[in-house]
C-alpha cells in the first residue's frame, strides 16, 4: 500500500482542560469509506492474566473480579481466550522472551549471551503505520535494562523502537508545532534546519566510505535524521489550533509516579490520535517482567512487593494473601486500560467517538506461569463498524499470530498472514 502523506487540517472547538476535541478531517479514502480514519492502539501489560479461571467471563459476558474495571466499556470489548503463542515451540527461550514474538510473529534473534536478544522482525504497529504513511507514537515505562525482554515494538529484525518513557517529552516532541508561538517557531525551524543540513552533509559523505555491514547503520541513521528533520520542520504549525493539554512534569524514574505517568502517556496518545498527528500508537506499560512496586493507595492497591514477586509468589506460595495480591495487580492494570477506553470514548468524532473509529489491541505475552498456551487478549473499539464487542470468543488454541492478521484486516489491510507464516493459520473471524 503506498504511503500517503496525511493532510492534516483541523478545526477544533477547544473548550479547556476536559475539552472534547472535535477534529474535522479531509476526506481520505480508506477501506471503510468512513468520515474518520481507523486508528490502531496497542496496549501491553506485563505478566500473564493469571490463568483461565481468573479471566474467563461468565454467561452473558459477565466479567471476573480482575476485569471488573472494564464493566463500563464491555459493550465495546471483544475478549479472546485460548490463544496459543505457537512460535514458542521453536523458541530458544520462551517465557518472558516471548514479548519479542508477540507483535512480530518471528523467533527472536540472539546476538550475545542469555538475554542479549532482539525480536526477529517488524512489529505490526510499524507495519500498519508504514502502510498509512505515519510514524507510530510508542510510549511507555518499559524498564531500563537494554534487553529484548523489555522491548515490544520493532521496525525490523534487531531494530528495537524504544518507547518514550517521559510523557512530557513525548508531548513536546509530538505537539511542538502547536506549543511554540508562531513567530518563534519560524526562527527555531530555521536554526534547526541549518544544523541538520550541516550534519546531513557529513553523514552523506561518511556513509559510502564504510564497509557494507557498517554502512547499513549509517544509512539508517540518515533515514532517521531525515525523518526527524521532516517532523521538526514540516509540521502543520502556524494558523491552526488544536486544543490539547500538556501533561504535568513528573519524574519518570520514580515508582510512586507510575500510575500518573501511565495516564499521562495515555492522554498524550489519545490527543495525538484526536489531532491526527498519528494514527497508530503503542502503549507499553511495563517490561515483560513488570513495571514496579504497586504501593499506590490512591489507585486502590498498596502492596509492598515488586510486581514480579507478586506474580511469582502467586505460584510459589499460593496462599490467600498471594492470590488476593495477584488479582489486585491485574485489576490495577485493567483500571488503566479502562482509563484508555474512557479517554478514547470521550473524543467526539462526528456521530461517534474516537473509540468507535479505533482498533484497540490489548496484549499479553504469557498465559500463566511463564507458559503461553491459553493467552487472553482483547480487541476493543469499533474499527469504524468492523468490530463489535460485548462478547467473548474462544480461539480454540489458535495461533496468536492469527489475531495479528485480524487486527490488520480490521485496519483495512488485506494481509492473510503476518511474520512467519508457519506460525499462522488464518485470521481469527471476529464478526
Amino acid at each position: 500500500m503506498t504511503a500517503r502523506k496525511l493532510s492534516r487540517r483541523h478545526l477544533l472547538a477547544g473548550l479547556g482542560a476536559s475539552a472534547a476535541l472535535i477534529p474535522l478531517f479531509n476526506r481520505i479514502p480508506s477501506a471503510h469509506a468512513a468520515d474518520f480514519p481507523t486508528r490502531l492502539v496497542i496496549y501491553y501489560t506485563p505478566h500473564e492474566p493469571i490463568g483461565k479461571s481468573y479471566w474467563q467471563p461468565g454467561p452473558g459476558f459477565q466479567l471476573t473480579e480482575m476485569l471488573a474495571p472494564l464493566n463500563p466499556h464491555k459493550s465495546k470489548i471483544l475478549m479472546v481466550g485460548d490463544i496459543d503463542v505457537v512460535s514458542r515451540h521453536d523458541a530458544l527461550r520462551a517465557g518472558h522472551n516471548l514479548i519479542g514474538h508477540i507483535l512480530t510473529n518471528q523467533l527472536n534473534s540472539y546476538f550475545g549471551a542469555d538475554y542479549e536478544f532482539y525480536a526477529g522482525g517488524m512489529s505490526i504497529d510499524h507495519y500498519v503505520a508504514q502502510a498509512l504513511g505515519v510514524t507510530p507514537l510508542v510510549l511507555g515505562l518499559a524498564g531500563g535494562t537494554p534487553y529484548g525482554i523489555n522491548r515490544l515494538s520493532y521496525t525490523g529484525k534487531d531494530q528495537p523502537f524504544h518507547p518514550e518513557k517521559d510523557p512530557t517529552a513525548a508531548y513536546q516532541s509530538s505537539f511542538a508545532d502547536f506549543i511554540v508561538p508562531a513567530e518563534q517557531l519560524a526562527e527555531l525551524r530555521a536554526k534547526r534546519k541549518r544544523v541538520l543540513d550541516t550534519v546531513g552533509l557529513q553523514l552523506n559523505r561518511l556513509s559510502p566510505r564504510l564497509p557494507a555491514e557498517d554502512r547499513i547503520k549509517l544509512d539508517h541513521h540518515i533515514e532517521q535524521a531525515n525523518a526527524l528533520e521532516d517532523r521538526l520542520l514540516n509540521g502543520t504549525g502556524s494558523g491552526l489550533s488544536c486544543s490539547k493539554v500538556a501533561p504535568g512534569p513528573l519524574d519518570p524514574d520514580i515508582n510512586a509516579n507510575i500510575p500518573q505517568l501511565s495516564r499521562n502517556h495515555i492522554d498524550v496518545l489519545v490527543q495525538a490520535l484526536a489531532c491526527d498527528i498519528t494514527r497508530v500508537g503503542t502503549l507499553q506499560l511495563g517490561g515483560s517482567g513488570g513495571i514496579g512496586t504497586p504501593q499506590w493507595p490512591s489507585e486502590g492497591i498498596d502492596i509492598a512487593k515488586d510486581d514480579h514477586d507478586i506474580a511469582h509468589d502467586f505460584y510459589l506460595l499460593g496462599g490467600a494473601q498471594e492470590i488476593a495480591d495477584r488479582i489486585a495487580l491485574e485489576r490495577y492494570h485493567n483500571q488503566q486500560f479502562a482509563y484508555l477506553l474512557a479517554r478514547l470514548d470521550a473524543v467526539q468524532e462526528g456521530d461517534g467517538t474516537l473509540l468507535d473509529h479505533t482498533v484497540v489491541f490489548y496484549v499479553k505475552s504469557m498465559s500463566h506461569n511463564h507458559d503461553a498456551d491459553e493467552v487472553m487478549m482483547m480487541l476493543a473499539g469499533g474499527a469504524n463498524g468492523a468490530l463489535s464487542g460485548g462478547r467473548y470468543l474462544s480461539a480454540g488454541g489458535g495461533a496468536s499470530a492469527d489475531l495479528l492478521v485480524t487486527v490488520l484486516n480490521l485496519m483495512g489491510m488485506s494481509d492473510t498472514s503476518y511474520g512467519n507464516p508457519s506460525y499462522c493459520t488464518g485470521p481469527l473471524n471476529v464478526s
Binding site: R88, A91, L92, R93, A94, G95, F111, G112, A113, D114, E116, Y118, T135, G144, T145, P146, Y147, I149, T155, D158, Q159, P160, F161, H162, E164, S173, E187, K191, R194, V195, L196, T198, V199, L201, Q202, R205, L206, R209, L210, P211, A212, E213, D214, K217, L218, H220, H221, Q224, A225, L228, T293, A304, K305, D306, H308, D309, H312, Y315, L316, N369
Partner: protein
C-alpha cells in the same frame, strides 16, 4: 597445571554446551572454542572485526564533560546501552526515532548551557574576531571528532557559524555549531576508516584512530591534547611509545571511571539483575534503599580502583582481600565497627574474601528475600571460569529459586550441577550480603562445596566456604585466562572471534605469569586485536 599454557586458550573457550540438557537451537556462537589452538609464532597480525559502534552512555557523558565542562550527565536519560557478553556495546541495534531524538534534544540543551555558562571553554576570542573563533571551533571539533577536520567539514562548520552570526548573533552561532558537532556521526560513532590492505588482511589503525581507541578504553572519554598531538606526530604506531601513553593514562584520575566500569559490568551490577533496580522485601530488609544501593556500588568502585590503580594490581587481591572501602551503613551490614562515616579502608571478618563477598555482588545476585544459587553459581561459572551455561528448557517451573531436587531431576541436573553447588557456598550471606549462620529456611548452613568439573575445569577438589573457594579460584590458570578474556571483551566491546585468537593467547600468557591487571590492560592495548582493523570488505 600439566597442560602447556597455549592449550588452555582452546580449553577454556569451549562452551560447556554438551554438559547441559537444554534447547540450544540457534543461540549465540560459542566463543573461539570450536577451533584448534592457533599457530601464532611468526603469524601475521590479525584482528577480529570491530563493527561500527555508537558511544556508550558513560562515553557520551565523559565526552561532553571533557569537551565542554558539562557535568550534568545528560546520557543518563538516554536509552540504556545495548550489551554484548555483559559489556556495553551499541553495535547491533540501528538507531531509532527515540534514540535520535535523545541525541538531538540533548545536543541543543548542552550547547545552550555551554555557551551561556562556560563560553571560555569553547572560545576566549572576542566574538567579532571571526578568524579567532573559527580556529577555536575547529580545535573543538577536532577534539570531539577525534581527528582533524577534512576541508569540506571545516568549511561547512565555518559557514554555519558565519551565516548564523550574521542572521542572528554570534552566541547563537556558537550554539548551532556546537549542536551540530554533538550530532555529527564523527562524534556519535567510533568511526574507523583505515582501509584494509590488499585482500582481507587487517590494517594498523591510523594514529588518530588509535588515540581514540586508547582514550575510550582507558578513560571512557575523548583523547586529551597530549594524545592528539602524539597522533598528529605519528608516534602512536610505535608500540613502545604507545606503551608510555598507556602508562600515563592509567596513572591519570580519568582512568578511575573505566576501572570502575569494568568492575560493575563484570560483576553484573548493571543490565539484567542490576544493583540499582534490585527490589528487596521491606519487611525483611527495611534498610534497603537507593542510598544503600549507591553505597554498595561506591564500595565496589573504590575497591577496584584501589587494587588496579593504586594497590598491587593483582587479580589475587581482587579475589582475596580481607578489607574493603566502606561507610558506616555498610559497616553495619558487614558487622564491623566503622572507621568513619565516610568511605575508608576497613578490615573485614575472615569469612569475607574480595569481590565475591562484597555486598554489591551478593545483593544483585539474590531475590527480594531469598538468595539465589543460580545467580551466584552462574556468576562464578560464567564470569570467572568462562564456561557458559545454557538457559533452562521452555515451560519448566521456575518458581522455586533454590530447589535441592534440581540436582536429582534428570531434566535439570546437568546444568544445575554447574551452578547450584557453587551457589550454595554463598548461603552464608543473605540477600543483602550480611553474614548469617542459618539459611533462608532456618537450617544450619553447610559450607562444603565443590566445583563440578564438566571436563574443562582446572579447579579441583572441595572447599569450605567462600574464602577457600576464592583461594582456589585465585590459584587457577583457567580463572586467570578467563579474566583476561573478560577484559578483552570490555576493551573491544565485542565477543572475540577466531581472528583474535593469537592476541588473546599472548595476553593470557603474560597474565598467567604475573596476575597483574595493569600489565593486562597494557598488553590488551598493545595487542594486534586492539591496534589492527579488519574491515571485512573494501567499500
Amino acid at each position: 597445571m600439566g597442560q602447556p599454557r597455549w592449550a588452555l586458550v582452546a580449553l577454556v573457550a569451549i562452551a560447556s554446551v554438551a554438559a547441559c540438557v537444554g534447547d540450544i537451537g540457534d543461540g549465540p556462537e560459542a566463543p573461539i572454542g570450536q577451533h584448534d589452538s592457533p599457530v601464532c609464532e611468526g603469524a601475521p597480525p590479525n584482528a577480529g572485526r570491530t563493527p561500527l559502534r555508537r558511544l556508550s552512555r558513560i562515553e557520551y557523558n565523559n565526552a561532553v564533560r571533557d569537551l565542554l565542562g558539562d557535568t550534568s550527565r545528560p546520557a543518563d536519560a538516554f536509552i540504556a546501552d545495548e550489551m554484548v557478553a555483559g559489556f556495553a556495546s551499541n553495535t547491533y541495534a540501528l538507531i531509532d526515532k527515540t534514540g535520535l531524538e535523545d541525541y538531538f534534544y540533548a545536543a541543543e540543551s548542552i550547547a545552550k548551557s555551554a555557551v551561556a555558562q562556560r563560553r571560555e571553554v569553547i572560545t576566549s576570542c572576542d566574538l567579532s574576531d571571526t578568524a579567532c573563533v573559527h580556529r577555536d571551533l575547529a580545535a573543538l571539533a577536532r577534539r570531539a571528532f577525534r581527528q582533524p577536520l577534512d576541508e569540506d567539514t571545516k568549511r561547512e562548520l565555518f559557514a554555519l557559524y558565519d551565516s548564523s552570526a550574521s542572521d542572528w548573533n554570534p552566541r547563537t552561532a556558537l550554539e548551532l555549531v556546537i549542536t551540530s558537532v554533538l550530532l555529527s556521526p564523527h562524534f556519535l560513532y567510533h568511526v574507523e576508516l583505515t582501509p584494509a590492505e590488499a585482500g582481507q588482511l587487517p590494517a594498523l589503525l591510523s594514529n588518530y584512530e588509535l588515540a581514540a581507541r586508547l582514550s575510550f578504553f582507558l578513560w571512557s572519554s575523548v583523547p586529551d591534547d597530549e594524545l592528539l598531538a602524539a597522533a598528529e606526530r605519528g608516534q602512536l604506531h610505535d608500540r613502545l611509545f604507545l606503551a608510555t601513553q598507556v602508562e600515563r593514562m592509567l596513572a591519570h584520575e580519568n582512568a578511575r571511571d573505566t576501572i570502575a566500569s569494568f568492575g560493575a559490568q563484570w560483576l553484573g551490577l548493571e543490565g539484567g539483575h542490576s544493583l540499582s533496580s534490585a527490589y528487596k522485601d521491606p519487611a525483611v530488609f527495611p534498610q534497603w534503599d537507593p542510598d544503600l544501593a549507591a553505597a554498595m556500588r561506591t564500595e565496589t568502585d573504590t575497591f577496584f580502583n584501589h587494587v588496579v590503580m593504586g594497590g598491587d594490581h593483582a587479580l589475587a587481591t581482587l579475589l582475596l582481600a580481607d578489607y574493603s572501602f566502606i561507610n558506616s551503613d555498610l559497616a553495619e551490614l558487614y558487622g564491623v565497627s566503622p572507621n568513619s562515616t565516610d568511605f575508608s579502608k576497613t578490615s573485614l571478618p575472615d569469612d569475607r574474601a574480595g569481590v565475591l563477598t562484597q555486598a554489591s555482588l551478593l545483593t544483585a545476585k539474590a531475590h527480594a528475600r531469598a538468595i539465589s544459587w543460580v545467580l551466584r553459581g552462574k556468576f562464578v561459572r560464567e564470569r570467572l571460569l568462562c564456561e557458559p551455561v545454557a538457559g533452562p528448557p521452555n515451560n519448566v517451573d521456575m518458581n522455586q529459586p533454590n530447589d535441592p531436587d534440581r540436582l536429582k531431576d534428570p531434566h535439570c541436573k546437568s546444568c544445575h550441577l554447574l551452578m547450584d553447588p557453587i551457589g550454595r557456598t554463598f548461603d552464608a550471606f543473605d540477600a543483602l550480603g550480611r553474614s548469617r549462620d542459618v539459611d533462608d529456611n532456618g537450617d544450619p548452613i553447610n559450607l562444603d562445596g565443590t566445583i563440578e568439573n564438566a571436563g574443562q575445569t582446572d579447579v579441583t577438589g572441595g572447599y569450605r566456604g567462600v574464602r577457600e573457594l576464592a583461594e582456589k579460584l585465585a590459584a587457577s590458570d583457567q580463572v586467570a585466562a578467563c579474566f583476561a578474556r573478560e577484559w578483552f571483551r570490555f576493551a573491544n566491546h565485542r565477543q572475540e572471534s577466531a581472528d583474535d585468537a593469537c592476541s588473546i593467547q599472548q595476553v593470557q600468557q603474560r597474565f598467567a605469569e604475573t596476575g597483574n591487571i595493569r600489565d593486562l590492560i597494557l598488553d590488551i592495548a598493545l595487542s594486534d586485536a586492539f591496534r589492527y582493523h579488519h574491515t571485512g570488505d573494501t567499500p
